[in-house]
Amino acid sequence: MNKYDAVVIGAGNGGLVAAIRLLQGGAKTLLVEKHNLPGGFATSFKRGRFEFEASLHELNDFGTKDNAGDVRTLFDSLGVTDKIEWLQIPEAYRVIVKSENLDATMPFGVKEFIDQMEHYVPGSRKSMEKFFALAKEIHAAQAYTNSVNGKADSKVMLEKYSNFVRVGSYSVNEVLQSIGMPQKARDIFNAYWCYLGAHCDDLSFIHYASMVYRYITKGAAMPKSRSHEISLAMVERIRELGGDVWFNTEAVKILTDSKDGGVSGVVLSDGRQIETRHVIANCAPHLVFGKMMDKVPEVEIRATNARKFAGRGWSMFLGLNKSADELGIENHNYFIYDTSDTVKQYKLMEKIATNEGQATVCLNRAYPECSPEGTTIMYFTTLYMSDDWGNVKPQDYFKVKNDVARRMIERFERDTGAKLMGNIEEISVATPMTYARYCGHPQGDIYGYESQYWDGLTPRLQMMAEDHRIRGLRFAGGYAMRLSGYSSAYFSGDISGRQTVGDIKKEG
């Protein structure tokens, strides 16, 4: 029982999907997870009368049965869609930049989105139509690339998807400017940027456009019993397929073969060795190459040193003892910024002292029955774009954490007019320390490696084959080729899982 075809380290979103793919491909698979629950950040927790979603704001690219997004299609083929009860998110977002008098609520649906934008910014219609036409082509190009497993024929690309190639190297801001989107429309349009964690001078247009396109055309979904339901459904599926899942089991070392430097096994924290030639690591290359492997090729050290940590997570969960109506919370999904200049906002998000930007959700506005009648669940999230929490000393930690919580609540109240203070029955706050503890990510990073210009989605996908340098070692999750976020992590597990099945078959 100490020998497996493949070991998946970490039962986060990427690891869970990778394990299912391995099993579907006939590989004898062990999934080890150091925590006592699956999902990584995809989980939930209870406080008093409330069950809080730990991280999922809305699942992108899921769609409905009749208008399925890629995530639903993936879940269908994994065999988990029907194990989960889904609900639809009612609207795209409300973005508020009080200092600029910007307050816009945007719907799902291309026509609705364009109409609403025209309402807020007369004269924006043409540029919005241009955007959606472009985004449609990008989406089609990505579907083509996926269908040929990343080995796109450049002739086909140029003939059928030439605009994908043409805009492919530009940032969000560069392309939106060039298609003539009015400034105010861009300010509203760019609101989703914090979901990708890089500012719009840096962020690849293709990456952003494909995300927005998926949101607006497919809507967004959410499991009723929180993301914990997805994670448990995946574990259920793994066990149905004959896979082993061990919780409270930390992998501390990946052993390598002295002949080819490839994977030969995994060592668990109690010293036990598992023999395997294939590992899918659902964790940061910084951890794998920094402390889990003894002989790391210099090329991996250099490549890992080149990467930049993305946003470090901070979240607050409130259980309120009044209804959303009584509290004055109108919407499901808020983006609250100090400035619509994403470069400036990014800068403000580097420091604890200046960061009040937030993506805040009122779950009851999507799912009124998520908490007892007359109560409300909210969760607030922000990112820190530097290691500022590393400056917080343990003895100051609780105070800093609560100060930030208070500022975030007051900011939400000030910018929306809602009244939360005095109505808080339960509160829980997660900081980069919390994320570091639960998932072991360096600095409490929850977004993997930043989508910097040179390290964005397109070059990562194009270089997938050459980034795979150690035999038997592949990555899944937020640090991998699809970057971070729920859907991306699921896709990375799908890709690495299927590739590893291929590796195993090649070995015979």
Binding site: N36, K46, E51, S169, N248, E298, N305, E425, I427
Partner: protein, 382 residues
């Protein structure tokens, strides 16, 4: 920063730029320094102090507090910091069993941070506490878990005036809180109403008196003894009203019987009961007909069969059999013992505190579940 090429969106240059993206990334990855990668990070190091995980700890001091209560002070392997009011699980091998219990920390947060010392104060009242009282000695090595629980002052929602109502050995979290106020690791006003049978039963009597300040007051209530300088009888609404500041947040630590009585009094005084905090008590035995079931327990790739008494929780059955299984709060709430029920029937002790999806996919918390049939479980390593 973005690479600036000659700008030409939607022209021939754009194609060249696109082609160059991989070359640029290749160059970036190859030209970064070969300096060793960090093995840890500041945030992760702080996280290890806040959440050190289960660690071996050496018992360095055992102090007799009252006739039936002792304080056990442990030297941790690494420093810890916590919110005064939290508990730790203490685990030790007792005979063939591996037994753990959650105990409120009775020492201060800064003592744990600066000296790696943590104390728990335990009254002789059951299997493990009796064993500790009679057997634990300096030099013994046991395991101490993460500081846990939400039984502490939460500045966002609580009043800065806390009224703590303690019964007997329920004093422990409040003694930690009083020390925390003194050392400055916590900041609020604490009024402690502490009920005991007799003066001799008061734990930390001198210590509490010495901590009295503008931030900390203590009122002793004796139920079974008349003595000058003390309040007498029950901790009833008159008494609470006399000492509790207006709009205070109330925290209770004591027996379930005490909770029932004091909750009734608080309700009559008009307190919002959802804001009153109770330190949860461990799930005990249930009163049913004696019956023994068989439970097949799978931990990683090993199967065990353990005997389970109908009147004891599934967790106790596994511990009795010497299995190393996870447990923390032992009151159903923390979910640390989260296990998959493959087959069998069970009853819950008290309210169902599981997550919604747990019930759906057949997960249980063995610490608050009693067996009603033979069972099969998949349990994480503890």
């Amino acid at each position: 920063m973005a690479y600036r090429f000659k700008r030409q969106i939607f022209g021939f240059m754009d194609l060249l730029r696109f082609k160059k993206m991989t070359a640029i990334r290749r160059e970036k990855l190859a030209s970064a320094p070969a300096t060793p990668l960090p093995t840890t990070y500041r945030v992760n190091e702080t996280a290890r102090i806040l959440h050190p995980g289960t660690q071996p700890a050496t018992l360095t001091k055992v102090t007799l507090n009252t006739a039936d209560t002792k304080t056990y002070t442990f030297k941790l392997s690494r420093p810890m910091f916590f919110r005064a009011g939290q508990y730790v699980a203490v685990r030790a091998k007792v005979g063939d069993s591996l037994v753990a219990r959650p105990y409120a920390i009775s020492s201060s947060p800064l003592t744990a941070l600066n000296q790696s010392l943590v104390s728990v104060t335990v009254k002789k009242a059951g299997f493990f506490s009796n064993w500790l009282f009679d057997n634990a000695k300096e030099g013994d090595v046991m395991e101490i878990g993460d500081p846990s629980g939400e039984f502490y002052y939460e500045s966002i929602k609580d009043s800065t005036n806390i009224v703590a109502i303690a019964g007997g050995s329920g004093i422990t979290p409040f003694y930690s809180m009083a020390q925390a106020l003194k050392e400055g690791s916590e900041d609020y006003h604490l009024t402690l109403i502490y009920g005991c049978k007799t003066e001799a039963d008061i734990i930390f009597h001198k210590e509490l008196d010495a901590l009295v300040s503008d931030k900390f007051k203590v009122v002793y209530v004796l139920s079974d003894e008349k003595k000058e300088g003390y309040e007498h009888g029950f901790m009833n609404k008159e008494l609470i009203k006399r000492y509790a500041p207006d709009n205070a947040t109330v925290m209770l630590c004591g027996s379930n019987g005490m909770y029932k009585f004091v909750d009734g009094e608080l309700k009559e005084l008009g307190y919002n009961m959802l804001a009153v905090k109770h330190e949860p008590n461990c799930v005990g035995v249930r009163d049913v007909q004696d019956k023994t079931y068989k439970i097949k327990v799978t931990i990683r790739d090993k199967d065990y069969t353990v005997k389970a008494n109908a009147n004891e929780t599934i967790l106790v059955a596994m511990e009795r059999a010497g299995l190393s299984v996870p447990s923390k709060c032992r009151a159903g709430g923390c979910g640390f013992c989260h296990s998959k029920l493959v087959k069998g029937k069970f009853s819950l002790a008290g309210a169902d505190k599981r997550r919604l999806a747990d019930a759906k996919f057949g997960y249980i918390h063995p610490c608050c579940s009693y067996p009603d049939s033979d069972m099969e479980l998949i349990v994480p390593e503890g």
